[in-house]
Amino acid sequence: MADQTFPIPGTPDASLSRGAALLEQLHSWVVTVDHKKLGILYIVYAIVFLLVAGVEALAIRIQLAIPHNHFLSPELYNEFFTMHGTTMVFLVGMTFIFGFGNYLVPLMIGARDMAFPRLNAFSFWMTAFGGLLLYFSFVGGFGLYGMGAAPDVSWWAYAPLTAKAFSPGHNTDYWALSLIVTGFGTLGAAINTLATAFSMRCRGMTLLRMPLFVWLMVVTSGLTLIVITPLTAAQVMLIIDRYLGGHFFDTQAGGSATVWMHFFWIFGHPEVYVLILPAFGIASEVIPVFSRKAIFGYPAMVAASVGIAFVSLSVWAHHMFTIGMTSVGNAFFALSTMMVGIPTGIKIFNWVATMWGGKIRFATPMLFCTAFVFQFLLAGLTGIMLAVAPWNWQLHNSYFVIAHFHYTLTGSFVFCIFAGIYYWYPKITGRMLSEKLGKWHFWLFFLGFHITFDTMHFLGIIGMPRSIYTYEPDRGWNTLNMIVSAGGFLQGIAVLIFAWNLFDSYFNGSIAGNDPWDAWTLEWSTPSPPPDYNFAEDPVVRSRRPLWDLKHPNDPDWKYEP
């Protein structure tokens, strides 16, 4: 072959010394525009911040384990729950989904890279430096009065607490600025994902043959476009208020604190769907492969995803029932919130129907996905309870709410992310993760999750409010709080096992081969890890399961698909 006489770009020069080779390697990661490397960077970045925000959560739980505790100072406690929330949503959740999206979307649609590789790198580094800016506040946030360091206004940052008079110093500005910066990164990633999915598909990959993960990344990116931008707009207003003396949220000059709440939750509620939809995508890839059946009701799954995105845009004020809306407003937001249950119900039925009668293999990814289906159902049920306005008045800002959204974000989102990592790690590194450690990880995390968050529901019902520094011993919350904290540590141990598994299997895992799970989507047709160019030849697709067609030439899917 003629091309063998040329050095292949990206291969380290063999003549380099060890140090120089390492430097070369590091340099290649910094300047890379390859979607696979950027995807890995996103995911590693998310895992690092998952550990950081996890430590913050554990510190919060130590503080709350016994009454009148002084493990954290009150100021640091406020900073920790603010940073825990902000980190988990923006630096862990968003980076995980765009990490998976980056790595998998081009591979799944048979493309060689994203539509705009340099925009892709730009988006990642914006996100990365936004996160560093947020955490720099721990050392650099001392303001005019030397007060506080990290942001301490909670992740929703309600006005007028964020006004200059009540939050002096620069910590709130770090919060606003870093979210604007990561917001631009996210916007770039979303635009790139949409352009890739619409314009880079290989021959025959019609929209209704795209894998469901790609579909859900499309829906999530479209939703990102219209929900991250209102947050950016609101942050700009906040900065105008704080630095230019504006009056957007200044109640003394006629501004309104409620407007901030509306703007924040117009972003904040669809944001949880932005996070959970790609998690649905991961479940929709894993469950069929491990049930040995094609996904049940593919068009209904696509329609339900788009439906969830639409409905999610009209539910935001269910976070605000206690501000005293009109009964028409209450009724509208209660009903629209309950409507989310219809498309999500369709999805749950379809996953169960996919498993029904299948030859289920309970490998670690499937364990996480199975737990996800049931936990997500419970999360949805408490969500519908909270959508009932009078019930919400009773439980607003209680631990019941905390339990509900941790059921969606931990019990559903994080479980699917773990499933995704166990499922695609062999593709990304070429080695299998240890099944034994994986099972330990799953069962410990599963137990810890239920000990913590099931118990939180009861704490909420007997009246414990969220965001409190400590509590009196005679409230009857002592035992339950101790149980919640103990469960938290069980989850912490499970995540450490997971981190060790990631590290150890990279060197000692068994070799994966192209297709260790006997799966059906295009990414499994290339070597593991995939070469820089992904596919030696542009693939041609005739059905939703191109690898099934290749493996079963006598019984291909395209004979049956419409």
Partner: protein, 194 residues
């Protein structure tokens, strides 16, 4: 039975990635403007003290300039589609000129508001919402003009050819968006809000 061809479809066509990306960006930008417009409308008449929106003069001339720049850029698009680079350059320059006139008009308006009427962004709620919304739009005009000037420089250097038609058209989409947003901002600020 099956209508799917055995061999790859020779007519496999995909939408242009530039267009998809620009339309996505426009959707995102629309959401940003929506938030600022909602804030403006919600706070109409909410200021506790003056000056009030009655001090505004309706910028008809500015508006005509900006909207006609959209027509000029359409002629530029058509010219490059047919490979007439000189006509393209002329229309492109006219577009930029109209955009610059619009910005200058805004600058003159703001100078009068600040120095004669004493309205700054911190004076009252009207000042905050007015300068934010009109300023957000003006920022987009500046970004648009920067992009247009890059193309202008390449045109003068003789580097723009017929094969760049699609890129030019994608950029024009952005300019059309900036003009369309002005129709909304103009209506809200100078007609409804006054």
């Amino acid at each position: 039975m099956s209508t799917i061809p055995i061999f790859a479809d020779e007519n496999w066509r995909l939408p242009s990635r530039g267009r998809v990306a620009m339309l996505s960006l426009i959707i995102g930008e629309t959401a940003i403007f929506t938030i600022f417009v909602v804030a403006y409308v919600y706070y109409i008449g909410a200021s506790k003290y003056g000056p009030t929106p009655q001090i505004l003069d309706v910028p008809w001339f500015n508006t005509v300039c900006l909207l006609s720049s959209s027509i000029a850029i359409v002629f530029a698009e058509r010219a490059i589609e047919r490979g007439r680079i000189r006509a393209f350059g002329a229309c492109w320059a006219l577009t930029m000129l109209l955009g610059i006139v619009f910005l200058a008009g805004t600058a003159i308006e703001w100078k009068r508001l600040i120095y004669t009427d004493g309205l700054s962004i911190r004076t009252n709620l009207f000042g905050t919402t007015f300068y934010s919304l009109v300023g957000l739009h003006a920022t987009h005009v500046v970004v648009g003009l920067f992009m247009l000037s890059l193309v202008m420089i390449f045109t003068l250097l003789g580097r723009v050819e017929q094969r760049h038609t699609e890129r030019i058209q994608v950029l024009s989409l952005y300019w059309h968006f900036v003009d369309a947003v002005w129709v909304v901002v103009f209506t809200v600020v100078y007609i409804v809000g006054k």
